[in-house]
Amino acid sequence: MIPVAFDYQRVSSVDEALGLLATHGDEAKLLAGGHSLLPLMKLRLAVPSVLVDVGRLHDLSYVRDAGDHVAIGALTRHRDLETSELLAAQVPILAHVAGQVGDPQVRHRGTIGGSLAHGDPASDLPAVVLALGGTLVARGPGGERTIEARSFFEGFLQTALGPDELLTEIRVPKATIVGAAAVRNGTTGVALVNMGSTPLRASATEAALAAGASIGDAAAVAAEGTEPSGDLNASPDFRRHLATVLVRRALEEAAS
């Protein structure tokens, strides 16, 4: 449980970080809260030769009202999401879920950008941003681009980010309902954690709801089209079952 030797560079600007990424290519890894990356490095499942620490880019830590959406800096800690009054008022589901992540220590270190960029289907925040229909902002050598959450997650620990890109901002539409599912403008977004190699929208449930199905009927199809893996925690069958139960409960909570 000792990582392979690596160089460590702490940067004080996004440009500096991008410069280092450009120099070192996929030998380099960005380090934010380190709560996903360092465990992988200790198990030697990740072996970057350079760590670019963006953890002190305080400019990228914010939660701002941007009119129709809320803009969140990629380096915002889970704890700051959990306690944000703006989120509590405008996107309460995000504040609520951030408060469920790990324990206080984890929430004070982990960042929303790290959570999304890590691309772990078992993480909580990616599913929420997906359910909300969020947009991600990245900067790379060619400048800034935006990526829709639904096309961001490509596979297990794989995202649309290039090795030379840095996630700078997450934009989430205002959605006033609390619950594990998000409801906005009459459409309901439902996303699933750990039901495949990426976070997933429960599209069958969403379609059923759009067609006027009852919560019970819509939830019953929550696992449709998913291929969850089995591990020590649960078999694929059990995961599919849980998806229907938990989606139903989330919808009931959102509706009440």
């Binding site: 000792i2 392979v4 020590l232 925690n233 078999s235 059990f238």
Partner: protein, 794 residues
């Protein structure tokens, strides 16, 4: 209470905060890995990735080429370092098979994690990199994972033994009585329970640092161990080094739970490498090695049968065990099931008894002592089985227990398996626990939920346990073929300046002996605990000791301290009487001062007496100078703590999730030296016991790979998972020792597992579920609910 009888204002019995804690909380306490040892080399171990494999070759050349690497060795390279293999001190039968176990495997790796090569480097980082560069060529052989499969000898762990059975140990005082009871029984219960393997995750993993001394071929061994004294003897034997050349120090040790009651390959390796390389050599375990290469606990398949009359009164208990030894016999591996062998009738008066245990080798990490060691297993079996009996007889679980308890008047109670239980009031503790829990209200709530078809099912589980601890009368250990005694040593001295000093042979690693022993001495001498220094865990300072395990420290080691303090006091009284020119009986001790009865102005403080004893200018004829006494106490019997725990769970029918919503514990450990420490032990023990029921399991795949090698997969609970524990107590002094104390280090773990499982099964009663393997994971519960069918619901 005896301590108060001594006539000294009592600090004993008060909830004093622990003297150890400031050092631990501020980071001042020094653990092995904190020791700064200039020039120390670091060992990295190459561990077999296979459960069973012949080692064809080991190539260390690439590792040796790495800058910073000093040496690299295969098992064959080091074969001649060992005067004896790793020790097993408990050959439970004369016929027991004990295959040689070397610190580095030479020809054969027998579990995934078995060390096959060692690299020595200038830093732990280089050592880790170098270990990865050692190339080992293996012939992979079939793994022997399943216990029932292992005993059938289809594949062998040690082919040279021609069997996987290490031993069979039997305890059947009157076989005909057992047969008769079963023949005449109105109700019988026959159950099979699986005790999954557990990983003792001490907060501090193991660590060892061996420092050769500048001259004299002497070595100081710093180890995160529970047993510096035993380790010293065993290191000497295995290395072929005279005991006089070894000093073992256990610095601050961050928990053990029995896992550090052992002599490990890495301890021998560091010592042998320090000898060979003539430099300090150290090694620290990481979490994954902790899972793979530190001993594991439990690992049994239990068959228990009860024969009862029409009222549910148990007439006989018959037990058959398969016990998983793992790949080798570690220090006390074979004896662990025997520590439970006498207790399968639990707190109940049972006239006929039969027990047989078969110890079986598997290609898995060796098992050994883990908090409770044999007693949690026994308690689990009887407490689950008696609930099954209640179901058959058609009475409440509380009632079946009342009908069977050893009655209060029966103590000292001679049990069918041959123990003498010291003291107890089992019905009293059950009653108190039921009151605290509001048992009748809980049952009413359960009925109401069932009636309204709630999907959150309430379950209430009882566990009325008794255990034997305070290891142990040396003669009893002899009768069990254990290779050592069970006494404990203590020295108490008053230094010339009046400070008291205690030297104890116990070796605390979280239990708070410094606090408790200073309270015992302070109470006796009438001084403040802060004026008592407690020295321990260093064989140069405390040469005699049997160390800390088996809830022995207060009832054996604490008693030795108590008796030594008493002797010091007797001598002090003699000196004071001499100098004050009165009879000893005319002196009264109060606040650390002897005064003449009736004329308090004629007095001598202990500090003054200590100084007089030190100068020896005016002592009675024939009295030796200095105020000091040493006592070695061999207890006449075990002590038998007991109690009743009540667990309340909610089971979510749809998700299978079990929530522990309340936990009530009424424990009786006799007199309590420090109730705060007692409560801490009870809390921690309970959480560990609950963890076996709900979360923890060392999972192996069919190839013998351990899958739970990190804390992501091996679910050790945190404070968030457990409710606030409601603690009650009763106090039934033990007649076995002058303080009336019993042990409390393991009671929580012993009691909690069956309480929780009984609660889960109680919650699932509407589904016809009668058994469930541990841990009761959501998926297992969900399958159990579905397996037996929704239609079965009442």
């Amino acid at each position: 209470m005896t301590v108060a009888d001594a006539g000294v204002a009592g600090v004993v019995g008060t909830p004093m905060t622990r003297r150890e804690d400031p050092g631990l909380l501020s980071g001042e306490a020094r653990f092995v890995d904190d020791l700064v040892v200039p020039g120390a080399l670091h060992v990295g171990l190459v561990r077999s990735p296979h459960a069973n494999a012949r080692i064809r070759s080991v190539d260390t050349s690439a590792a040796m080429a790495l800058p910073g690497v000093v040496a690299a060795f295969s098992g064959a390279d080091l074969r001649d370092e060992w005067a004896q293999p790793l020790p097993c001190a408990w050959p439970v039968t004369p016929e027991m098979l004990n295959p040689a176990h070397l610190p580095l495997a030479v020809e054969h790796a027998r579990y995934a994690g078995d060390a096959v090569a060692a690299v020595v480097a200038e830093s732990a980082y280089v050592a880790e990199d170098a270990a990865a560069l050692v190339a080992v060529d293996y012939d992979v052989l079939p793994a022997v994972v399943d216990l029932e499969d292992a005993v059938a000898d289809r594949a062998l762990v040690h082919p040279e033994l021609s069997t996987n059975t290490a031993y069979t140990w039997e305890l059947t005082p009157e076989p005909e009585a057992v047969e008769r009871a079963f023949a005449e029984a109105v109700h019988t219960v026959s159950e099979r329970y699986v005790q999954q393997r557990l990983i003792p995750e001490a907060m501090e993993p193991r660590g060892v640092c061996v420092v050769p001394q500048p001259f004299g071929d002497e070595y100081t061994v710093y180890s995160a161990t529970q047993i510096p004294h035993i380790l010293k003897v065993m290191l000497g034997l295995s290395l072929g080094v005279a005991e006089t050349k070894l000093r073992v120090v256990a610095p601050a040790v961050g928990g053990g739970f029995g896992s550090k009651l052992n002599v490990y390959a890495e301890e021998l390796l560091c010592a042998a490498l320090a000898r060979r390389l003539k430099r300090p050599v150290r090694w620290n375990e990481d979490r994954t090695e902790n899972a793979q290469a530190t001993i594991q606990g439990r690992g049994q398949i239990q068959h228990i049968e009860l024969a009862a009359d029409g009222d549910g009164k148990i007439r006989a208990v018959r037990v058959r065990l398969l016990a998983d030894m793992g790949a080798y016999l570690q220090l006390v591996t074979p004896g662990i099931p025997l520590l439970g062998a006498f207790l399968y009738h639990g707190a109940y008066d049972v006239p006929a008894y039969s027990f047989v245990c078969t110890g079986v080798f598997t290609t898995k990490t060796p098992t050994d002592a883990y908090r409770g060691a044999g007693r949690p297993e026994a308690t689990y079996a009887i407490e689950r089985a008696i609930d099954a009996l209640a179901g058959k007889v058609g009475v409440d679980p509380a009632e079946i227990r009342r009908r069977n308890f050893i009655p209060r008047e029966a103590f000292p109670y001679s049990s069918a398996p041959g123990l003498v239980f010291d003291s107890g009031d089992y019905e009293g503790s059950l009653g108190k626990a039921l009151d605290l829990a509001g048992y009748d209200d809980l049952r009413a709530e359960q009925r109401a939920r069932r009636a309204r078809g709630s999907t959150r099912h309430l379950g209430v589980g009882l566990s009325s346990y008794v255990e034997m601890c305070g290891l142990a009368p040396s003669r009893v250990l002899a009768s069990l073929n254990y290779s050592a005694g069970g006494w404990e040593a203590a020295t108490v001295r008053i230094l010339p300046t009046g400070t008291a000093q205690v030297v104890t042979g116990t070796s605390p690693h979280g239990q708070g002996h410094v606090t408790s022993w200073s309270m015992i001495v302070a109470d006796k001498l009438g001084i403040s605990p802060d004026e008592v220094e407690v020295l321990h865990s260093d064989t140069a300072v405390a040469p005699h000791g049997m160390d800390t395990y088996g809830s022995r420290s207060v009832s054996v080691g604490g008693t030795a301290v108590f008796l030594a303090a008493e002797r010091v006091l007797t001598k002090a009284r003699t000196i004071a009487a001499h100098q004050l020119e009165v009879a000893e009986e005319d002196l009264e001790l109060s606040g650390g001062t002897f005064a003449v009865r009736g004329s308090p102005e004629r007095s001598m403080a202990l500090a003054t007496i200590a100084f007089e004893a030190f100068t020896a200018h005016n002592l009675p004829d024939g009295l030796e100078p200095t105020l000091e006494a040493s006592v070695t106490w061999d207890p006449p019997n075990f002590t038998f703590p007991f109690g009743t725990h009540v667990a309340v769970v909610e089971v979510d029918e749809e998700t299978g999730r079990v929530d522990l919503v309340r936990y009530v514990a009424v424990d009786d450990c006799g007199e309590q030296v420090n109730p705060l420490i007692v409560e801490g032990q009870v809390h921690g023990g309970i959480v560990q016991g609950v963890a076996q029921a709900l979360w923890e399991e060392a999972v192996y795949d069919q190839d013998g790979n351990l899958l739970t090698t990190t804390l992501t997969d091996y679910l050790v609970p945190s404070a968030a998972e457990v409710p606030s524990i409601e603690v009650g107590r009763t106090v039934t002094p033990s007649p076995t020792n002058p303080m009336g104390v019993k042990g409390v280090g393991e009671t929580g773990t012993i009691a909690a597992t069956p309480a929780v499982m009984n609660a889960v099964i109680d919650a699932l009663a509407p589904f016809g579920v009668r058994d469930l393997d541990m841990p009761a994971t959501p998926e297992r519960v969900w399958h159990a609910i579905r397996g037996i069918g929704q239609e079965g619901r009442q």
